[in-house]
Each structure stands twice: as C-alpha cells, then as structure tokens.
Symmetry: C2
Subunit: 146 residues, 2 copies
Amino acid sequence: MKKTNFPTAQDVEAAFYEALEAGDVDAMMEVWSDDEDVVCIHPGGPRHCGYADVRASWAELFSGSSRLQVQVSNLVVLSGMMLVVHALRESIAVKGDQRPAVAVAATNAYMRTGQGWRMILHHASPAPQGPAQQRTVEPEAPKVLH
Amino acid sequence: MKKTNFPTAQDVEAAFYEALEAGDVDAMMEVWSDDEDVVCIHPGGPRHCGYADVRASWAELFSGSSRLQVQVSNLVVLSGMMLVVHALRESIAVKGDQRPAVAVAATNAYMRTGQGWRMILHHASPAPQGPAQQRTVEPEAPKVLH
C-alpha cells in the first residue's frame, strides 16, 4: 500500500536519489508506479520490466554493504501533462572510497497517477567523463583573448 | 521547413529507424522536434542537446560508408497525452558484415507538437546479449514436462 502522494515529478526524483543513496528498497519502491510496464536499466545491465522485477533488481544492488553517493546535474526537462521525462547526468561515488566518481547518463520518466506522480522508467548507462571530471586537467597555457 | 506531419509516435519511430538504416541526415532530422531541449545519446557517447548538436552527431555517425541494419523488439509503450516514451531493444548489424548483431537498449520519447508527433529524446546504450542472441545455445537436454 503506497502512502506518499508526490505532488510533482521533481519530488519523485528527489525521493528516488534519496532512496538510492540510502540503499533502501522499500523507499525506492515507494517511488515507482505499481505497474507491469515500468522499466529499469542499470548501467550496462539487462532491462528489468514490471514492478516485481524492478524491485528485485534494486534489492540485489542494495544487498552489499557499500553505500553510493550521487550528484545530479545537467538536467533537461521534457514535460507533457501526464508524463514528464528528465535527462540528466549522475556522478556516482562509493561512500568512504577515494576513487573518483563515475559519470552516468540517465533518462527518468514520471507519470501522473491517481496517487500523484510516480517513476515509470529509469535508464542509466555509462557516460564519458565530462567537464565536471576534466576540470582538474588544466591547459598547458591559459587562453588569452585579444 | 518541416513537411511531414506524423500522426502518431509510432509513425515517428518507424521514420527514425528508416532514416538510421538509410544513413540519411535530412530524413533523420525530419523526425526530431526543432527544439533546444531535444536530447540524443549514442551508445557510450556523450549527451547531445539541442537540434543543431543532435544533427551534427548524426551527420558524424552517417559520414562513413557502411550502413546499419536495425531490428527492434521488446517494445514497452508508456503513454501520456502529449508525450509518449518507448523502451525497446535494438539489434544493430553492419550491412554486408558477417559479425553478429550488437544489442542496444534504447529509450525513445516523442511529443505531440503543432505539426504532429516528433522525437524529443533518444537514449541508446550497450546492452548484454539477450535471449535473441542466446537462442542458438541449446540446453544439453530438452526439458520435458510430466
């Protein structure tokens, strides 16, 4: 039984990344529409389809002891009335780990249901390290405009 | 100046894969919404944002002489009134090349505009080889139900 009534797609997205960082399966599945057609693709992994399969994929991902830290950026919002698509960049690091964050390209789709907005699709895939990571690489000489 | 008025999202998708196989940049860009917020991610590549940047990415992809052959399957349709999201599997081969097709997970989003439906997002990423490719691997003994 769902309890949360997310008033906007942005609220669903905030709860999604909070649940991802917490590694909390119940909180994660509160975010998803309870539907046979929901789709979830973790980076490089197979497509999970349907609420039960998507839940199992998150349960497996959260079964380890390490927790993830996710920073999102470069958000593009594509809005319909009942359906919203977000394209964004995730920068994912393991908490307490010194290795640099990994860049992930994500497409998230949200639908307005009888109980507020819910996630219906999460497609994440490995992305080239972009400007956020390359910022530490300085050009050999600074560019000067004349 | 756009000429085609695609009556459904499915019509846009058919034209998209036709243009992809033909390697035809003009036909490809006929499919896309002429918008600053359109998003295109080729497998493993960076995110291209905006009509001009998306066009340049396809022009580069089509600049070689080899043509692609694309079979789509496993379609999931997530429909709003103004916006539709398709999640599907692409099986991509190079025409005249004997190597097996590569599996790609794709999320395509379409929006209803004043000139019919248009593509607004294409997110493609490498996928594990699934059942379509594994079909050639036979189990050691056939399963018999009693």
